[in-house]
């Protein structure tokens, strides 16, 4: 039985986030920050924005737990998406086209969906009056798709990051074509090689 996805607030939230063109290269994150501040205001959560590198903001929403001295849980997602070859798309990649229960858009899998799922899960828990023991920090970081150099790699070295007192973190996985869910506890080391061909 098809649901009315057009009017579902969580689906609308995802589609609005997908419509923000946070596409590499040289992303301007202002629109993401405005959008995320609006989400935090709806949730009633305080926001901090850190900028270890100029114009590379990291936004953190915090839901304090009942025992805030305990190490916290980090829910991380990146705001940027990889570029598109628009001509190869059936629907415009930043329109968040919804058809037959399917949402098309750059970032639908990687990973704006996960960012909104964190937000919606917190919204539901709060609406039910539930309080959690540990503090949850929802971080939204820039430039993962170009290696995280100006983003997370800088942030983890800062005092601001240490102050979050994180004990455990979740971040993106990947889609699975079967009924199984994939989970990753490590990843490959990436070695970029430069091949120089001087010619004759």
């Amino acid at each position: 039985m098809p649901s009315d996805y057009e009017s579902d607030p969580a689906v609308s939230n995802l589609r609005n986030y997908l419509r923000i063109r946070s596409v590499q290269p040289n992303v301007n994150y202002d629109e993401c920050l405005t959008y995320l501040r609006g989400q935090a205001a709806e949730l009633g959560l305080p926001v901090q924005v850190f900028e270890p590198r100029p114009r590379k903001p990291i936004l953190v929403m915090t839901w304090e737990g009942l025992e805030p001295a305990l190490p916290s849980v980090l829910l991380n997602s990146h705001m940027d998406v990889v570029p598109v070859f628009e001509k190869s798309w059936t629907f415009p990649p930043f329109e968040a086209h919804l058809e037959n229960g399917v949402i098309y858009g750059r970032g639908a899998q990687d990973m704006k969906s996960v960012a909104i799922q964190y937000i919606e899960a917190v919204r539901r828990l709060k609406a039910e009056g539930i309080r959690l023991k540990r503090t949850l920090h929802l971080s939204f970081v820039p430039d993962e798709e170009i290696g995280g150099g100006p983003g997370m790699s800088q942030f983890v070295k800062t005092e601001d990051f240490k102050k979050l007192n994180i004990g455990f973190a979740l971040d993106e996985g990947i889609a699975s074509a079967t009924d199984e869910y994939l989970i990753f506890n490590a990843e490959r080391n990436i070695w970029h090689m430069t091949v120089v061909c001087p010619g004759k």
Binding site: Q117, L132, L170, L182, E187
Partner: protein, 86 residues
């Protein structure tokens, strides 16, 4: 590590079992921000609740079904409750 030395993993796994999620644990084929978090000694898991979905990250016509998306919210409600109450 995905064993009893990590109480967050145990809570995550228990919640996933309760939801009857079939988990397949692997090494990530690419690079994510998790590596920086792990480098400073924080255990991190990569997980996006998208099964029955073709792998289209970075591809044309990237999509996600609204059903899978909404089910993912239910999954996080349980998982976040579990790991934040360790």
């Amino acid at each position: 590590k995905l064993d009893s030395t990590n109480p967050f993993w145990e809570a995550f796994k228990a919640a996933a079992d309760e939801l009857k999620l079939k988990l397949d644990c692997r090494i990530f084929p690419g690079g994510t921000d998790s590596r920086y978090v792990r480098q400073v000694g924080i255990p991190a898991l990569g997980f996006s609740p998208m099964n029955d979905t073709p792998v289209l990250l970075h591809d044309h016509d990237e999509f996600l079904s609204a059903d899978i998306f909404l089910k993912g919210i239910d999954i996080y409600v349980k998982l976040l409750t579990a790991v934040a109450n360790v």
